[in-house]
Symmetry: C2
Subunit: 416 residues, 2 copies
Amino acid sequence: MIAEILCVGTELLMGQVLNTNARYLARGLSALGITHQRQSVVGDNPERLREALQEALRRADVVITSGGLGPTVDDITKRVTAELAGQELVLRPEAEAHVRECFARFGREMTPNNLSQAMFTADSVLLPNPKGTAPGAIVPMDPEGAKFVIHLPGPPRELEPMFAASVAPWLAARSENALRSRYFRLFGIGESDVDDRLGDLERGGNPSLSPYCSLGEVLLRLTAAAPTEAEALALMDPIAQEVRRRLGEFIYDERDDEGGSLEECAIRALRARGWTVATCESLTGGMIADTLVGVPGASEVVKGGLVTYMSVAKTMLAGVPAELIERCNVVSAEVAMAMAQGTRQRLEVDIAVSATGLAGPGGGTPERPVGTVFLGIATAKGVRAIPLHLTGDRPRIRQLTVKHALRALIREAAGA
Amino acid sequence: MIAEILCVGTELLMGQVLNTNARYLARGLSALGITHQRQSVVGDNPERLREALQEALRRADVVITSGGLGPTVDDITKRVTAELAGQELVLRPEAEAHVRECFARFGREMTPNNLSQAMFTADSVLLPNPKGTAPGAIVPMDPEGAKFVIHLPGPPRELEPMFAASVAPWLAARSENALRSRYFRLFGIGESDVDDRLGDLERGGNPSLSPYCSLGEVLLRLTAAAPTEAEALALMDPIAQEVRRRLGEFIYDERDDEGGSLEECAIRALRARGWTVATCESLTGGMIADTLVGVPGASEVVKGGLVTYMSVAKTMLAGVPAELIERCNVVSAEVAMAMAQGTRQRLEVDIAVSATGLAGPGGGTPERPVGTVFLGIATAKGVRAIPLHLTGDRPRIRQLTVKHALRALIREAAGA
């Protein structure tokens, strides 16, 4: 089965709205193993919508639309689709009851144009909308039942539950394959290095191996499709072993879903060790602590932290001797270690991580160019510094510093 | 001029990446007054890319692509475009120099396939990429110079500055109108309230008034197009005055470009006052400090901060009496004020801001539901608390708290 996504809305063409629906639906199709080769966006214009729908139906068996189900004059998706199917829109009593009930519940008066939300072709399968007024629909486009258009509402809070509850089961029932995926999370290796090392395994087909790059990290997805789950797993396993053999040193997490960010792994590793953590941050200005606190359950692990942005704050808060800063430079292994040790003592935690460095744009020197960063890690066993030589602009250097700090916490907590 | 956006990347079809590029480019086209009727996404597949490009070039004068400029086998955008233009890709020396310099700067070895990033058709106009390895290009698709494909890199941090610096001026020069915009930044009012208050001014046309909503903030763009800049300004001015009259209390910044985030305004206001600032953060875990530090020039203003995530850290670091926490609850106006005062004294700053609250998901009670937050503001004049009743999930509550804290700093520094 081949599916396409067609999002309808001038607000998308104006850039007023981020198209999160396309990503949500793409993920859903991918999880179901349904081929999805094209996404399109058109505005609230009947001719251009008709053209886009016709093209999409030539290429795909199922076209999922989002948006254009509301009562305003702009909302044209159902009307254009019905014309292409050669059918009339008729008032569907079950949809009318839902629309009337919504208005009654919100205490709003229903104007006649709102009943257009209850009109569908006679053979459409209606999709309940528990979160909004406009029902969705699965619309057969030919008498043979070969092609379908699936209408979903535009607001993500309506679209997402409707897809999950009504569309995904319908699509699953019509598609053939079981699909299994395995996700490897890598840190410290670039996308092109992953390509070089796995290039011979990546040549498309089944199983497929796809690297997705984000700042400093690579998410590697291994997917196999087969008539049964066991067969899909059997296809996948030898490739998974090869990935581990070739890239093991860079893998910090491996699981059956996409989850598992660096910060989640760090919290998990610290909790497993029964450790509390504190931070002492200069160039990252609190971002390491904030990233850890963003993980639910952080409160068992994260005690607190110090933001020592000005040099004098390193002395005031973490007890770094002013003389040491003067002698070694504020961006130095010595100061990073003193920050971590001072923080560990001051906050009475098991492990403290510190970061001092030059995020730029100004302030670089030949000996200490922008991107020079030192992390400090203090535990009961002692203290050490990790020098980093980062590149890029200020946000990138700050974010990479956070990721390196999280990676260092994971390694330390794992006892590696 | 009619433009289309064509984003290339299997990661978009798999739903692994949110298509922020499409929105960024759509906004850019909209700001230039360029007609934009269609967006498409295809995967890293040459046949389907060719088909999509051909279709787009039939409809549009300019097709802007994003993605597929890198060195891997998947990266096919330039090759397919050159074939459609009936030309060869040749090594362009200025691009080769840039690619080699990038590798030298990052200290990485350049494999031969990386030189593909320096190959373009002979008549392409190259677009510098200060943030990455792969240059972009404006590719003429016919000898008459009627149709163009513009290649931009996939990573937003490379695409956005390249569009702003190289593509927008080129597009502006080719389109007819002078365009003037005015941006109002609002905090504390929702998009639908803005709609209600400005509905009569918003009825499309020229000048146009478009609200863009983000978390807790509304960016209102007023744009006028006319044969000359002076005429565009004359069209715009009466509407700008009306916006100020109706929404003045919510406007925290007004300027001719989109810049001017809350944090930039906060740093600017603090610097204008000659004040240093420190933070004391519980539920936000360092995000207020980090957001301030993210603004270049923050080092004159931000001294440091305390992350007091566990209750005991509020006592250890900010000197909040354990008895006060016990008596008033850790989420209380009293504790927020004590955090701010303790931090102001401890860090010897002019103003300290604190935040304590319940970000959820767990921990709410009938008296203190999730979303209950108290900010504290301490200055030489004294200390006060600001109670907030926020809604939404954990990330939203934490981010809204940061924005309210920044807004409070702006007001306080402005002496309001």
